[in-house]
């Protein structure tokens, strides 16, 4: 039996790795991937607490997180395509203003 706190530590480490990527990387696509890592860390926390309490509401929450992540990926990638079309770059240092 693995203690639940190990799963929570793993989720915390994954979340911090994702946050580090969001803060450090300059490529908008990789920043999106790091946001997905953070969402997965949140999912892992939900599932760990669901197992700890024997309550399947955590599973339903994780299901909703997956659905919202899918919607976010679709919209975010569409914005990345639109920005690339107008600026020719996905480097978030070069995208400082809303004007073009």
């Amino acid at each position: 039996m693995v203690p639940i706190s190990y799963y929570l530590f793993l989720a915390a480490a994954l979340f911090c790795l994702g946050m580090f990527g969001v803060l450090v990387r300059r490529n908008a696509l990789v920043v999106f991937m790091c946001v997905e890592l953070m969402l997965n860390a949140a999912n892992l926390t939900f599932l760990a607490f669901a197992r700890m309490r024997g309550d399947s509401a955590g599973h339903v929450s994780a299901f909703f997180v997956i659905a919202v992540a899918a919607a976010e990926a679709a919209i975010g990638l569409a914005i990345v395509i639109a920005v690339f079309r107008s600026r020719g770059s996905v480097n978030i240092d070069e995208i400082k203003t809303m004007k073009h």
Partner: protein
């Protein structure tokens, strides 16, 4: 050390290793492939947590659908490797310090959580199955479920509107 602990250790190490590869890979394609393997190893962790249905959804939706979308966009934009600048910039130092600080705070908070696990007992056969989650979604969580379906419809229409050059 029993088989569950060994599996957890292996999956946890591989998950963190692939997540690190996502951040430090030079080309976005390599980041995306590392992200796919992160999702697969996380699905293994979910199975260890008795969340079989969520593990299947993780592989189908994340590693399947979302990553195909990512790879499609990366190949559409035809991005090459980033030019490598100085390795240790102020942004990276501050980002690393922030991430480490957050992990330290979370670790202090998580260390206080008692690691007692509820004995599933009678529901051990049904916990985490598709039937249990489906019953919960279509009774208690019906309204959020419908709201999510509306959200997906709106995001589908919105992504077409945003990405299309002329409408």
């Amino acid at each position: 050390m029993n088989i569950e602990q060994a599996l957890f250790g292996a999956f946890a190490f591989l998950t963190l290793f692939s997540a690190t590869m996502v951040i430090f890979a030079k080309s976005p394609i390599h980041s995306a492939m590392a992200l796919v393997s992160t999702f697969f190893f996380l699905a293994g962790i979910y199975v260890l947590l008795w969340a079989h249905t969520l593990a299947v959804m993780q592989v189908l939706v994340y590693a399947g659908a979302i990553m195909v979308l990512f790879l499609f966009v990366i190949m559409l934009l035809n991005l090459g490797e980033e030019p490598s600048g100085p390795r240790l910039t102020l942004t990276r130092i501050i980002g690393g310090a922030t991430a480490l600080g957050l992990f330290a705070c979370l670790a202090v908070a998580l260390a206080r959580i008692p690691s007692t696990v509820v004995d599933l007992g009678a529901q051990a056969q049904t916990f985490g199955t598709l039937e249990t989650i489906g019953k919960a979604i279509f009774s208690t969580w019906l309204f959020p479920f419908e709201a999510v379906s509306l959200l997906l419809l709106v995001s589908m229409v919105g992504s077409v509107v945003v990405a299309k050059s002329r409408i």
